[in-house]
Symmetry: C2
Subunit: 688 residues, 2 copies
């Protein structure tokens, strides 16, 4: 296809670069990236409206960091309920529940955010507002994909649209989920059973409903370069591809109540794990607007429904769930006047066999991993799937990166899903089991083991521990197969192989997201968290930790590096489109540690404070590790253990560390990017 | 008038409780309070649209605290440019400008916010959004008052509408301010001359224009209980009342440029005061969006225009202003490609003789004080006028307080205006004068004196130092006349005279706003700044600093106090309307300092954690001075120097301290409120 016909085709409304199926948190995260990059995108959801009540979920520290990188973290932070402390309640020697431990809900120091809880509907609102503020991408609701075809002969053609999808537009009635109406004090209460796996998937119903109502329906055929199935546990996309979920399919049955509690239990505003002697367990999750979510174990002794049979949902009502809770929390009293939402579920731990087809169609979120909700992981891991994928797809669509980076999605995220499932399996068993009466009680659960699992789970649940394996975009030692899910994502051209020198900054761990400490802007002395400089706008960052630039050796290295970067043939200039601004693809940041007052930006090579004819010099690229007037000293060199000789750091657009090496290792930087980036048309002259 | 006919009249759309003239920051602040209280209010502005460019202004720490109390402080904080450091530049021995000092822009520790700069249009937007979110008050633009009558015989009748105003609705054309179009690179640039006092007042023109265009006009007559004139330096309301501004009416002439600077001056992103040897002075105010505001002295040697004559504005253009700046900042270069806005002004220091007529019509903001803009005070003091007034008027309109509290507006705010004018007069002289060449140069300005004035001005400019004098609502020793502007606002019934014991908490200074430190919620361990608990929702707060409540003496005092507060005849119950929630008028807060883990809310008398049939116990009233997991230890007892025996503190709805006394001084609390509050219909039983 010539460039011209491709351009003509792209003008067609039915040809899109990216088609997203499902507008839950994972789908919206994908759309958010596409909006940032300006990628032609459609996002459809079979539901006629976004969800309203229920579906609160914990937000991990890392999720809040990601939200903040899209500039809506503060909205979640302000509206959410913050959980600070976990209280563990266990039976004492008389079998009466007592508080046995208090542990911090978020491990102190791992993030500038702490775990919080917020209604999913609000989170979707933040995404929708943010997407709208920077793009014309609109969620199309009541739209259902009904047919999928892929021309596999085109998958390696960058300009091709190998995916063809038929979309059916539903009537409003069809697109409204069937909810069980529960009457409570004369008001009907929403419940979540329609989305629980205790209720059958309603996709087939929706399609059939649409068939019966021809007038309301229209169909259209869409061709796409890339596609994401973020369409939930019953994923239509996954089913079309014939991919499976593997793992256990059943678990204990749990009920969920969202209530304003009336109780004399003193820790009702703390996150609590309550193990009764023999009535089961309750997890208390305090929420916003005075609400408390209770996860209440309904079956205590055995799994039921093994082999695909479902529990009898007609016996599960808010009243029966409350009664279970009352038995567990006794001798404390528990009641409510206000019930906001309720559901029941029975979900096992399962993970998808494949996360992508030919790196053209991807799956994310519940479509490829299901597990119990109590660990507060579900929405986080789903969003983080799409956060990992989005920038990669966008870079390829924009012609900046070649397609090899797309394989890292499955390698990185399937491994995370496997780890999550293993953790959840163990945690669910410990939480649902009967507490051991003493050390001789081998069938019972050791409360010490439970506490240790909880604490370990806390780090896991923060999202901060995620450590991506060696790959073409993570210059780390070791086997990429072993460090990921088995997919081969190693650098193919061994001449471009780059090796990090982790010891130069041992807390900037290659593979993990970079930790954040405060730095000061050299030009105005304003403190910012490092991560606040790392907005999710698609840029790769090269951070030069330049050390004390008043020392001649450091100044010389900086000058040399600056000269190399400024050359017309530098990676900066080779891989940035001529039309792009100087920081369009790569943003150079300097963090030095000379005393702030001893230097000015004019002491740094101009490539680190680029000049623009209208805007003058850029004052927002050079930072310093020094004392602030009002917010203390970030001590970023000390906290990240940066060597006094400095270092260069490459950060992916998702803040994960690709490379740590010597400050003046220009050749490493160049080789790293040459491994997957596509040279752009050269400019007539350097842009600096 | 009977209650019934009053109610009928209130239903009339042309009868309002409060009429606000002027929708700038002062008028909007007044409307904000009215929205919070649910007061029937109209707000009109003669301009057809809110302002767009220019009119950036510094936001003081205290203003940000106030914004935060209305829950939009974060918006200003996030969008604004933060100013951290002031650099002083003076001529050296060769007459070349050199940086002589760096001082923090905001004195460390005085507030949790620091001074920032933000476009006034954004601030108006935040107000409009916040007002809309809690009321149906709408700003009516292009509406001009044309006639004012007051029936002075009715001013002491709480139910009366003594004010009658004719409002004229302008056509769009009439309501659009005439701006001077300045062409710059082919684009026309807005300027602010129309609002400067170098341009004549356009009110008369607007009225005349309206007369000529009968079809576009409609008139209506509005009757109001209270009225605020927040209509600027040319205040129509002030003129109708015949009140004067007193003080000097002229000053040096200054030009203002809002540009994206292209300069090698190294401190262009700092706030700078630059004194050249003999070319005048420049103030640099770095702004948001890469802009920098420059205040540039255009006349160096003498005041001109004495006696009412105006400067020749035709000679003032962006080019002439820039040339002046270039002369001052030499040998550094200064230029721009982008000019956002410009103006010039010549304003003296003047203050109104009266701030109210019969405590029915009030004036605020520029209508009663004018001064130079360089100290970044104008918008702040104006908004703080209305912040002081609003809750008082609303309390009286709601029948909670008697009218005596309204006299404190003039007493408190006219005194502030007088202090501001004195400061500005001195500061302007120091800033506009020629630097002294040496100690023998008596006509020159001592740069050391200038620096000291700047530092003192910094505290003044923070807004934190505001200290209201003794009055019926400030239980402080001394003469209310001497501590205010001379108005008599002392307690009339000497039996109700209450005396603070300042030594019980020497940093909770009676008359000042309470400083803020972090405390933890007893129920969920979440840290909050104390001020975050003190939202501007119209409530008086009684904070009980209860000390270590695990000590029997403290526990006993708390129990006794709790019992007194819970009695049906307590001030809590006497002055809260029967229909009101338990914290509708008074909010009781406890801040104790027992270890958090050693107590629970159930150890406190129920009046401190009130019970509601639907919501259960209130978990958001009891706080503790203890270590947090992630945000350190607020040490509020230590920082506020609270005596271990505890204390009771009364806070006004505007966070200013009314009273500090012994923890169990119930009688003082009761007498204080009895001094100005109106007993409400008694309930059949106590509500606790």
């Amino acid at each position: 296809m010539t460039a011209e016909t491709a351009a003509n085709k792209a003008a067609n409304a039915n040809e899109v670069d990216v088609l997203i199926v499902g507008a839950g948190p994972a789908g919206l995260m994908m759309a958010m990236w596409m909006a940032q990059y300006g990628i032609k995108t459609r996002i459809v959801d079979k539901r006629g409206s976004k969800i309203f009540n229920g579906q609160a979920d914990g937000l991990q520290c890392r999720t809040l960091e990601i939200f903040d990188s899209f500039e809506f973290g503060h909205r979640a932070w302000m509206e959410s309920n913050h959980m600070l402390e976990i209280c563990l309640w266990n039976p004492d020697e008389e079998g009466i529940i007592r508080r046995s431990d208090r542990i911090p809900d978020t491990i102190p120091g791992i993030s500038r955010f702490q775990q919080v809880v917020l209604h999913q509907g609000r989170i979707e609102r933040f995404f929708l507002d943010a997407i709208q503020s920077c793009s014309d991408i609109q969620v199309e609701r009541g739209v259902l994909p009904s047919k999928l075809e892929v021309d596999t002969s085109l998958v390696e053609d960058a300009d091709a649209y190998p995916i063809t999808v038929t979309l059916r537009h539903l009537s409003e009635e069809e697109a409204t989920p069937k909810q069980t109406a529960t009457s409570q004090n004369g008001t009907s209460i929403q419940d979540g059973l329609f989305r629980s796996n205790l209720a059958p998937d309603d996709t087939a119903e929706l399609i059939n409903g649409a068939k019966l109502n021809d007038k309301a329906n229209t169909e259209e055929v869409v061709r796409a370069k890339y596609m994401l199935g973020a369409d939930g546990a019953h994923s239509w996309v996954r089913n079309q591809l014939g991919f499976k979920l593997e793992g256990e399919s059943t678990d204990y049955i749990w009920g969920v109540l969202d209530i304003i509690p009336i109780t004399d239990f003193p820790d009702i505003r703390m996150r609590c794990a309550i193990h009764s002697r023999d009535a089961g367990s309750v997890m208390v999750i305090p929420r916003e607007n005075k609400l408390v979510r209770l996860y209440i174990q309904l079956t205590t002794t055995a799994k039921i429904g093994e082999g695909g049979a479902k529990a009898d949902r007609s016996k599960i009502t808010p009243q029966t769930i409350l009664q279970s809770a009352q038995r567990i929390i006794a001798p404390y009293k528990l009641d409510y006047r206000k019930l906001d939402w309720w559901t029941a579920y029975q979900i096992g731990q399962r993970v998808g066999t494949q996360f992508s087809m030919d790196e053209r169609i991807f799956l994310a979120g519940d479509a490829v991993h299901t597990h119990s909700p109590k660990a507060g992981q579900g929405m986080n891991v789903s969003m983080q799937d799409a956060f990992n994928l989005g920038w990669k797809v966008a870079s390829v669509v924009k012609g900046l990166s070649n397609r090899t980076i797309l394989k890292t999605y499955q390698s990185e995220r399937r491994r995370i899903a496997q780890d999550l499932i293993a953790f959840d399996h163990r945690f669910s068993r410990l939480f649902s089991g009967r507490p051991a009466q003493d050390v001789m009680d081998e069938e019972g659960i050791s409360m010490q083991e439970f506490k240790e699992a909880f604490e370990k789970g806390n780090l896991f649940a923060s999202g901060i521990a995620v450590d991506y394996g060696s790959s073409i975009i993570v210059a780390k030692k070791g086997s990429s197969e072993e460090q990921g899910d088995g997919t081969d994502v190693a650098v193919q051209n061994k001449n471009l192989q780059v090796t990090s020198v982790q010891t130069l900054a041992s807390k900037i761990e290659v593979g993990k997201r970079i930790p954040s400490f405060k730095v000061l802007n050299q030009s105005d002395a304003r403190p910012s968290h490092l991560q606040e400089l790392l907005r999710s706008n698609g840029r790769w960052r090269v951070i030069i930790f330049a050390g004390d630039v008043t020392e001649p050796a450091q100044a010389t290295k900086l000058k040399t590096l600056g000269a190399q970067l400024a050359r017309p043939q530098s990676f900066l200039n080779r891989f940035t489109p001529p039309s792009g601004r100087y920081d369009n693809v790569f943003e150079l940041l300097v963090v030095h540690k000379a005393p702030r007052r001893d230097v000015s930006v004019f002491d740094f090579p101009e490539v680190f404070r680029p000049y623009d004819e209208v805007d003058g010099w850029d004052y927002w690229k050079i930072f310093v590790d020094d004392e602030s007037y009002h917010e203390g000293h970030g001590q970023i060199y000390q906290n990240l253990e940066v060597n006094p000789e400095g270092c260069s750091v490459i950060l992916r657009p998702d803040q994960h560390v690709s490379y740590v090496g010597p400050m003046d290792a220009y050749d490493d930087l160049d080789s790293f990017f040459a491994g997957f980036m596509i040279p752009q048309a050269t400019k007539s002259s350097g842009h600096i």
